[in-house]
């Protein structure tokens, strides 16, 4: 069976190479049979990889411990769902997942566009399949997921296996890696279209129109992946953090930042025909950062708490990145004359410039994070000494950047295109500014002045919320007055008329909620105490008392659980049950924290271990204000993104009327 799996991967590799060759020669020789055969090769790659993935999953589920991969990542006592997720629990499997997802996306793209873009599609297909070829060469020749343990030499007891790291046996971890991968892999598609349009010298933005929805969906997947990772870290790792600027976390953030910048700057190209080169750079950057992120997490080049293996695949990634980036840069330079801007920047106070500042700040943040992540590598190359920077470096730069961004979130959408007069600025921002300042004054009086960043952050969040509410209120009032319907139906009607705009506002609100949650961290409180059963301690305005200690075991782990009585100002809030487990297969202890989640604050208890004499429990108790708003913000963001994807009730056409004469000359070739 493993032979069939390995053979499928090998054949898929051959088909991917064939798809590239057939598409390119077919396009150059104008041979449509070859082009079609190239497209069919794409479907074959998908089919073969589906077979390979199916076989790997079957082996994982049935516990075929002859396979090195199965033995290293599952054990027979694991729940079925975790056996399935072991598919992406290790290096080889996750590379197979990458390849399979890319094959799936490619097949969908080829199918959806089978009668469109005759010029461009062969190139799109070949860019997709070149990437596919790279990943398939890794699992076909370097790290096969179907390697067999050498008979008689395997030091793993037959039929047991080593199991999945127990820290990963948590629900968000089931979907976090595939979500991130759906995001990572998805950006290959807009990149392929961008390259296709460059190669075929299409001046317009057909590639942006075609891939707009695609980019938004991919961005949503990536946001979900990052947030699930945060949710997991918060609920599982026992210190209540959700972000530590670890290289692997940074790797997932980098392409997200450039993708966010891209989603904004494409509007400049669609509406004003500006920033065409920049958009090419951003989408290419996003794609290569996705590859780079995979490289960072999979090669062990930078040491990380996630501690992925040192592995032999690093050099292949470096080669792919080097060749890919060089080819892209040359192509963009070669085609510069097709990417001329159709309009000029007219004022520093305009929608255009707010987009540019948004992009500048996002890219600066991306650069700072990249620089900080790679600092050990860079410093070793330059000075010979390996120096790392950690959280304080990232926070110092990214907190001001975050505040600037949230400010632009409020300003950007309301400022006029081309130029804004002082009068219109006053009209649009008077109430939001007053609201923000008022909130800051109140909070400062209440004692928040000790945390100036937090104070500013809350003020800006209020400011943005006010601008968004006013936008909805103004639009909905107009509709209500005209149609005589209620306010809520009017707001829905309004959103339906321009889903991208009002969906975008909802996404902005989601971001504001998340910022509120992140800002709450300035007011965290914690205590670490050794407490005997019956004893008590306190943190913030919470009192906790250990009622009793229970213990037991099951097939997978042995456990010890505290029953903690929580009260606030003398009134009982009920019981919390933090637990410690010792997993048998891996001999790994874990903590199961217990959290009382509320909108204003979370109360969080970790049972960290026993004292030296085994008589007292080491308890860590935390108060995390506002942290729930991060997760609420994500749901609002996801909802807003989905609204953006719904087609408008009436198709809007964006006539580029402001740019007289130029737009007609550069009219899009296909749409």
């Amino acid at each position: 069976m493993e032979n069939i799996g390995a053979l499928s991967i090998l054949l898929a590799f051959c088909f991917a190479v064939y798809a590239v060759v057939a598409s390119v020669t077919g396009r150059l020789k104008k041979n449509s049979f070859l082009i079609v055969s190239g497209q069919r090769a794409v479907y074959s790659v998908w089919l073969l990889l589906t077979v390979a993935a199916g076989l790997l999953i079957y082996s994982l589920l049935t516990g075929d411990f002859r396979l090195a991969y199965v033995a290293a990542h599952t054990d027979s006592s694991m729940k079925t769902i975790y056996k399935f997720t072991a598919w992406w629990g290790g290096q080889e499997g996750s590379l197979l997942l990458w390849s399979w997802l890319l094959a799936t996306y490619s097949a969908v793209v080829v199918f959806m566009n089978r009668r469109k873009f005759r010029d461009m599609m062969p190139w799109v297909t070949s860019v997709l399949m070149v990437t596919e070829t790279f990943f398939l060469s890794l699992i076909a020749f370097v790290l096969s997921p179907f390697g067999i343990l050498e008979a008689g030499r395997g030091n793993i007891v037959e039929g047991v296996g080593q199991g999945l790291n127990p820290l990963l046996q948590y629900w968000t971890m089931v979907i976090h890696p595939p979500m991130l991968y759906l995001g990572y892999v998805g950006f290959t598609v807009p990149f392929a279209f961008a390259m296709g349009s460059l190669i075929t010298k299409q001046p317009g933005d057909a590639w942006i129109h075609t891939t707009r929805r695609w980019t938004i969906v991919t961005w949503l997947f990536q946001s979900a992946g990052i947030l699930l990772g945060q949710g997991w870290a918060y609920a599982v790792l026992g210190w209540g953090g959700y972000w530590a600027w670890d290289p692997v976390e940074n790797a997932s953030l980098l392409p997200w930042i450039t993708a966010t910048a891209f989603l904004h700057s494409v509007m400049m190209q669609e509406k004003k025909g500006m920033m065409k080169v920049w958009n090419m750079v951003l989408i290419s950057g996003t794609f290569f950062l996705c590859i780079f992120g995979t490289f960072l997490t999979r090669s062990g080049v930078v040491s990380s708490v996630h501690a992925f293996a040192q592995s032999p695949i690093g050099k292949y990634f470096v080669m792919f990145l080097a060749v890919g980036i060089a080819a892209t840069v040359i192509l963009i330079l070669e085609r510069l004359k097709y990417l001329k801007s159709e309009a000029r920047l007219e004022s520093v106070v305009s929608r255009e410039s707010s987009f540019m500042f948004n992009n500048l700040i996002l890219v600066a943040s991306c650069f700072a994070v990249l620089w900080g992540t790679m600092f050990p590598v860079i410093s070793e190359a330059v000075t010979g000494e390996k120096i790392s920077v950690d959280a304080p470096f990232f926070n110092r730069i990214n907190i001001p950047i975050g505040l600037a961004l949230i400010f632009l979130t409020g300003v950007g959408p309301l400022i006029a295109w081309r130029r804004s007069s002082l009068e219109s600025l006053k009209r649009a921002f008077l109430i939001p500014t007053l609201a923000g300042v008022a909130l800051m004054v109140v909070l400062a009086i209440l004692g928040a002045y000790e945390h100036p960043y937090a104070l500013v952050s809350f003020g800006l969040c209020m400011f943005v919320t006010a601008t968004v509410l006013i936008e909805f209120w103004k639009g909905a009032s107009a509709i209500r007055a005209k149609n005589g319907i209620g306010f809520i139906p009017a707001a829905i009607e309004l959103t339906h008329r321009n889903t991208r705009r009002y969906g975008g506002y909802l996404v902005h609100m989601g971001i504001v909620f998340m910022f509120i949650g992140y800002t709450g961290a300035a007011f965290n409180q914690d205590v670490t105490k050794e407490v005997a059963p019956g004893g008590s301690t306190a943190v913030g305005h919470y009192d906790l008392k250990i009622a009793n200690v229970e213990s037991g075991e099951n097939d997978t782990y042995a456990w010890q659980r505290l029953a903690v009585n929580v009260s606030r100002n003398g009134s009982s809030l009920g019981m919390l049950y933090p637990e410690r487990r010792l997993y048998k297969a891996s001999q790994q202890p874990t903590s199961e924290v217990s959290i009382r989640r509320r909108l204003n604050e979370d109360f969080y208890i970790n049972f960290a271990g026993l004292s030296a004499d085994n008589k007292r429990a080491v308890i860590q108790a935390y108060v995390f204000p506002l942290v729930s708003w991060i997760w609420i913000g994500f749901w609002v963001l996801a909802f807003g993104t989905i609204v953006c994807l719904i087609p408008n009730k009436v198709r809007l056409s964006y006539a580029r009327t402001q740019v007289v004469g130029v737009a007609e000359k550069h009219a899009t070739v296909e749409n």
């Binding site: 290293a72 793993i156 080593q162 920047l345 900080g372 920077v389 950690d390 470096f393 914690d526």
Partner: protein, 150 residues
């Protein structure tokens, strides 16, 4: 051109501020990666800088004393007390030690070396928090049949 000059000036200011923040951030948080034997050889220099030391926890060396935890790190895994290349560490940070921190685990300790040669760690990471993989044994790409993992 005027608009472009204004725009350029604002961009320059933004980049300047960020660069200034970045420089400050680097000075504040830079940490030197050192091997245990390098730390023991660094002498006085070791006491001034923030260091990050990578090592393996000696079997049975983890002792909890109230809020602080002391242990011994070795250059290579599985070494006992007689190994001369060792570093005594005291950790008294706020965050709990990770669950993966245990005997023989690979650990990263951040902190400064004290006058007495004891390393005062402010942060300890254990290198398997989400250990997806065991370290490959030698070259896995040569022969798939030797992919046995320990």
């Amino acid at each position: 051109m005027n608009t472009y000059w204004k725009f350029g000036a604002i961009v320059a200011v933004i980049i300047g501020v960020l660069a200034w923040l970045a420089m400050g951030g680097v000075t504040e948080s830079k940490t030197y990666y050192k091997e245990i034997k390098e730390v023991t050889q660094m002498g006085d220099r070791a006491q001034g800088e923030k260091l990050r030391v990578n090592g393996y926890v000696e079997q049975g060396s983890i002792v909890r004393n109230g809020a602080s935890v002391s242990f011994v790190l070795h250059q290579t895994p599985g070494m006992l007390q007689k190994d001369p290349v060792r570093l005594a560490v005291v950790y008294s940070g706020i965050d709990p030690l990770p669950d993966t921190f245990k005997d023989n685990a690979q650990a990263l300790a951040d902190g400064r070396l004290g006058q007495d040669g004891v390393f005062r760690a402010s942060k300890v990471q254990a290198k398997c928090a989400s250990k997806y993989e065991a370290k490959p044994q030698m070259k896995t790409d040569a022969k798939p049949l030797t992919q046995a993992r320990s």
